[in-house]
Symmetry: C2
């Protein structure tokens, strides 16, 4: 079966995804019976294009255009569009892919984490025009999961976002696909890498500001790291987890949030020298008066699995009714892991439709 | 959709499974659109029965018969069969369930772990008669995975065995359902609880024989614990993992196996007092000359996640090409977890057929 992919966002993650598709094309065909072709690419700064004559975009040409700073409109055999939403309309209107459920929008735009935009608009528009949606953004699940999932069900399409938490390590797909009838009663995890790098470096003797600058110089933390440091990224992930796994119906603004900006080197080192570790913990638990979802630094005994995580390692413990507690640990992170999250969701959508 | 279940084996796990079906019947219907009914039960010591007139067995009556030491033939409305294989033939021949792919054999017999019998025979016969198979036994996947999986594909039926490793924590289903196109390059894990209990107790100062006797008195270790102590159980799990996830095509006899019987309290405590832990590790790795699959005690730094596991905790680290290393930790184990492994596989089979 041939699936048409429309990429909205064409940054590092999307470009690694395109190369991953190419690297795994043979196994996609052999193992999954799927052929994936890119029919359009929408960006904010490099233009929006779709293939002429309902064909496929020359993805190699698109990669080199953007990576050498040229507009996507220099790619041969394309038709330009005014913006991402216009592109989506044009692609959905041509051929049978949208009508037949063979059009998948792959959404990887830069996220305004305080509002979840523009990813939410893209997801909504895509579902409305008959496309499935796979996104690496946490905004849609963190801010609007119930509405978007309901829209997907109405449209008979899929809404997937495995990359929102712990990159490509299965979390949402794990629960949905392999833990039927299990109720998630709570979770605890380390889900933000930048703050974990900073805390690890502070244990090694660096001051907060130096540790942060080091992470920024190494490209691990953003130039504006406040969303990480203030706990916004972890709060968005906690909201996404609580919405999807526990039916919370919240936004990141409903998460009780304390960042790590108030931690001194002295405090971090005092904990470490008494056999404890400070980690930024995202958690949720059911209380008599509702769900308690929070992000805050916690002082943990060093025997705690979450305390043992260094640098970019993430982990998530799920408390469940039938299985007790299980923990997922991500040891390695990087562009390939995030790009794989998109690929695993695309294949998941394809499997459901070709089964 | 109504699925017919034929239970082969009706011990603690199967009986907990039957009660779990009852507890979750409403959610099975609402969330999965599945109705599960038990049409037959085969045991070695309590008889083999199927419901008369292609109906369902009164499972409450079957539970109380066996739990009060009576034969299943005392259950009203049943027809007896000579043995499990005859029962399977009778059930497959009646009605349309086998023909329509709505018959699932749930296999939980006592396993001869050195040969994988009789579970392998039951799986083979069930697939041959048009039933899907869900088993909690590791024998079939450890001794005959390739042949049984090929038989399942030929028959257009499913062969599932999530309970073979880490009870109901998704391992096989995790990789198959949520990690498409990922290659598993190796694994390391603590997968046998009895030996981990014994090692934990020895760290606390007990001699090997006392620790073993304690575990046996608590019902954690079998009266004949040699299969655990000598590493056979872990070797069977390692073989199952290597066969399914890495295409090894081996049996437990091909696993390089060292048990914990040779460990003295002095050795275990010496490791602990120098900040290390001895754990029985099952592992596999690709070498230039093929797969190296082994079970052996290893001395680990106490910061190693596998070293931190106490008592009945299990964990499995998977090394993969696209995701790097991920680790699954099982904190809680018990009858419900093992029974849930069966339930999750039954639902998984049902989902594939009703999708």
């Amino acid at each position: 079966v041939i699936f048409d992919l429309l990429l909205i966002g064409f940054g590092h993650v999307a470009r690694r995804f395109v190369r991953l598709l190419d690297e795994r094309a043979d196994r996609l065909a052999a193992d999954e019976g799927m052929t994936l072709r890119i029919v359009g690419i929408g960006t904010r700064r490099h233009g929006c294009i779709r293939a002429a004559d309902a064909g496929a975009v020359d993805s190699g040409a698109a990669l080199s255009a953007v990576e050498s700073g040229r507009s996507l409109e220099t790619v041969p055999g394309i038709v330009p569009a005014a913006d991402a939403l216009a592109l989506l309309r044009d692609v959905a209107a041509q051929g049978d892919a949208a009508r037949d459920g063979r059009l998948i929008v792959v959404e990887t735009t830069v996220l305004d984490i305080a509002r979840g935009r523009p990813a939410i608009d893209h997801v909504q528009a895509a579902l409305g025009s008959g496309a499935h949606v796979v996104t690496a953004n946490k905004g849609p699940a963190a801010f609007a999961y119930d509405a978007l999932q309901a829209a997907a069900v109405r449209a008979g399409r899929r809404f997937r976002f495995e990359g929102a938490v712990m990159d490509g390590i299965p979390v949402f797909n794990l629960v949905r696909e392999t833990m039927p009838l299990v109720a998630v009663e709570g979770f605890r995890g380390v889900v933000n890498s930048t703050t974990n790098y900073i805390l690890t470096a502070m244990e090694g003797g660096r001051e907060f500001a130096d540790a942060l600058a080091e992470m920024q110089a190494a490209g691990i933390a953003e130039a504006d790291a406040s969303l990480d440091v203030d706990g916004w990224d972890a709060a968005a992930k906690a909201a996404a987890l609580a919405n999807v796994l526990m039916g919370a119906g919240i936004t990141p603004h409903d998460v009780a949030r304390t960042g790590i900006g108030g931690l001194s080197r002295a405090a971090v080192q005092a904990a470490a020298s008494s056999g404890r570790r400070i980690r930024l913990i995202a958690s949720a638990a059911r209380r008599a008066d509702g769900l308690d979802v929070r992000v805050a630094p916690e002082t943990l005994p060093e025997t705690d699995l979450l305390a043992s995580l260094a640098g970019g390692e993430n982990a998530l413990a799920l408390r469940t009714d039938l299985l007790g507690e299980l923990v997922l640990v991500q040891r390695d992170s990087g562009l390939t892991q995030t790009a794989y999250a998109l690929l695993s969701d695309v294949v998941g959508v394809g499997r459901e439709l070709t089964n």
